[in-house]
């Protein structure tokens, strides 16, 4: 299915709303290689179009420093318009906050505990981007 891709640590699919979902597998310990593989899967999925990202990190166990910097870097900002990070557990919140606080991501990013709010925000940021 072209609208769905997988990597070693996540499953990705493109919703009808034009938002790409990235759902991490339970206990995912994301390294730089994992991050790059996931990004490659995303690129296959979006077919060159810049789309908003819905990233579920609830089940993530760790995010390596290099992977964090990679997600926060130029490459991700070039292919994605915004990122909503779903955090729920204390671990995912810590990872998410460090991601925002230390890595200073280039693309607009926010933490959400509610998936609906996250999607709303992404749609809003997507329409903002479209309006621009």
């Amino acid at each position: 299915m072209e609208s769905e891709q997988t990597s070693r640590v996540a499953r990705l699919w493109l919703g009808d709303d034009g938002i790409v979902r990235i759902i991490h597998v339970t206990g995912a310990e994301v390294t730089l290689e994992d991050a790059m593989e996931t990004m490659a899967a995303y690129l296959k999925l979006n077919k060159g179009k810049r789309r908003p990202l819905f990233v579920d990190t609830k089940t993530m166990k760790s995010l390596a420093r290099e992977a964090r910097k990679y997600y926060a870097g130029e490459e991700a900002a070039k292919v994605a318009s915004a990122a909503a990070l779903i955090v729920e557990t204390p671990v995912s919140r810590v990872l998410g906050n460090f991601y925002l606080g230390l890595s200073n991501p280039r693309l607009p990013s926010r933490l959400f505990s509610s998936e609906d709010e996250a999607l709303e925000w992404l749609k809003g940021s997507s329409s903002d981007a479209g309006a621009q």
Partner: protein, 549 residues
């Protein structure tokens, strides 16, 4: 476990503490276990792990930065030390911050003492050093600022300072980086060269340097088609000064007039001692009109100036000046000198204490009709006939008749490519003609006839620039000789032996003779003793006169 923990505490807390203790002991790779669960302690552990990662990355980066800094410092030090010139960095307060080994060597002060000391204390002129320092700060840079460094032993080093400010990260001036180039040896060499280029008595540029300057200026004038003039100045009656007041007074006048001319000359003019009491002034970018104005100004200045001749006395002198300007015909150093000399001769002939431009177009290889003609007419005067040699040949110079000596002189002019007798004298040539064989014979006869008496036995002729019987300027001076040793043929610098003449005087009697053959027979030798063979030019001169005893 590196620490004892309270057994009652949660194992996750214990693990966290353990990781933190490891961090504290320097083990930044320590990490704790994060369970899949949702506990807050897992979140804290995840945070500690992230902080550990960040700390590890920070420390690694810090170490790399330290290493880069150390390398940069070593690199900078090697750059500073590789220079053989003294290098120094100076703070905005004027304190030395760093020096290289060359700076230590040139001052003789250990590095530790140099650093932190006031930079200006190592120069002979601290105020001047401070002035340069301020200028460098004001302009951001200073180039070739001359200073003298004093070594602790007292030895002085002439240096040229180049300095520029350096700035801190904020872009504000942090200090000065200065490099000194030791020019002591170069300056000595320049001084030696300067000394070699100067005349010892007057301090003017000497004859050799004059020609070097003139050559350069002529090339420049030709290249840009610009005018160039030359003044040739001669002190009038200089011999009289020497005879009247002594040679020291003559030297004093030469020094005085030299100083006066240098002061009067423009910055680009070159005042040189050509030789004797002759001084030349090269006037670049100067046409004939301006050159005449300058010459007249110099002449008038000299005329008005009282020259100190020592002993509280002063003497007034006058100068004659020949003025020549480059042209299509006069476009070589020697040509310009010849032209100026001809003009000078004309000025002398005109009564002295005057200036005279070179006006006669003179073709290469021929003499100036004006000069020789004038001399010829003078030589025809009765009083000169009286002085001319007792043995005389009359020659035909095509349309001009002249004495045999003049003919020889003409030949010499041609050979030396001169224009007039003045130049012959300027070349240091004195022609002395006598007939040794006859003298030998006559001395014997005379002594036999009248033992103990002094007899007039010959005539010696000089080409000299002296007054003789009112004939001023260059002329032939003749006087009788009485002693055998005077009766030799000699020519100073260029010695002309006259074996042909000596051998065959009788044969010339009323017989036309091709002088070239005679000239070939002259056996002229140059000052190095090598034979001078006439190249051509006297074929048209025919000997038609007769010996007149």
């Amino acid at each position: 476990m590196t620490q004892a923990h309270n057994e009652r505490e949660d194992p996750k807390l214990v693990e966290m503490l353990d990781v933190i203790y490891k961090f504290a002991s320097g083990d930044l790779e320590a990490r704790g276990t994060v369970a899949d669960g949702d506990s807050a302690l897992d979140g804290v552990m995840a945070g500690i792990n992230i902080l550990g990662e960040e700390l590890e990355a920070y420390v690694a980066e810090h170490k790399r930065a330290e290493e880069r800094l150390r390398s940069a410092l070593l690199y900078a030090r090697s750059l500073i030390e590789v220079s053989l010139d003294p290098l120094v960095t100076i703070s905005v307060e004027g304190k030395i911050m760093d020096v290289n080994e060359a700076a230590v060597q040139v001052t003789g002060v250990p590095r530790d003492l140099l650093i932190g000391s006031d930079f200006s204390g190592y120069f002979t002129e601290p105020d001047k050093a401070h002035a340069g320092y301020r200028e460098a700060f004001a302009n951001g840079i200073i180039r070739n600022y001359p200073l003298t460094i004093r070594h602790v032993s007292g030895k002085l080093s002439e240096v040229l300072y180049n300095a520029s400010v350096y700035r801190d990260e904020k872009g504000e001036v942090a200090g000065l980086c200065a490099e000194a180039r030791d020019i002591t040896d170069r300056k000595r060499a320049e001084q030696a060269e300067e000394l070699a280029s100067r005349d010892g008595l007057t301090g003017l540029y000497n004859h050799r340097t004059f020609y070097s300057f003139l050559k350069d200026e002529i090339v420049r004038a030709q290249r840009y088609d610009h005018p160039l003039s030359l003044l040739m100045l001669d002190i009038d009656h200089f011999k009289r000064v020497n005879d009247t007041h002594g040679h020291q007074a003559g030297d004093a006048i030469l020094r005085g007039i030299s100083d006066l001319l240098v002061k009067q000359a423009r910055t680009t003019d070159r005042v040189c001692r050509y030789g004797g009491e002759e001084i030349t002034v090269i006037l670049p970018e100067t046409d004939a009109t301006v050159a005449m104005q300058i010459a007249e100004r110099l002449r008038a200045t000299v005329e008005r100036h009282p020259f100190d001749i020592g002993g509280g006395k002063t003497a007034g002198i006058a100068v004659s000046i020949g003025v020549a300007t480059n042209s299509r015909q006069v476009n070589s150093p020697k040509g310009l000198v010849k032209a100026a000399d001809v003009a000078l001769y004309t000025a002398k002939q005109g009564g002295r204490n005057r200036i005279c431009p070179y006006e006669t177009e003179t073709a290469e290889g021929t003499h100036s009709p004006e000069c020789v003609g004038d001399l010829d007419s003078r030589l025809r005067a009765p009083r000169w006939r009286r002085l001319l040699p007792s043995v005389q040949l009359k020659l035909s110079l095509e349309s001009t008749r002249a004495s045999v000596l003049e003919t020889f002189a003409v030949w010499i002019f041609i050979r030396l490519r001169l224009h007039c007798l003045t130049e012959l004298v300027h070349q240091g040539v004195h022609v002395v003609v006598g007939l040794r064989r006859d003298v030998d014979r006559h001395v014997g006869e005379l002594h036999r006839q009248s033992p103990g008496r002094r007899h007039r036995i010959g005539t010696r002729i000089h080409l000299r620039e002296h007054d003789v019987d009112g004939l001023r300027g260059v002329g032939l001076k003749g006087h009788r000789y009485r002693r055998k040793r005077d009766a030799i043929f000699q020519l100073f610098y260029y010695r002309i032996l006259l074996p042909g003449l000596e051998r065959s005087i009788d044969a010339f009697q009323d017989v036309p003779v091709d002088l070239r053959r005679q000239v070939d027979d002259l056996g002229v030798i140059d000052k190095f003793g090598a034979p001078l063979v006439p190249p051509n030019p006297v074929a048209s001169i025919r000997l038609t006169g007769s010996l007149a005893a």
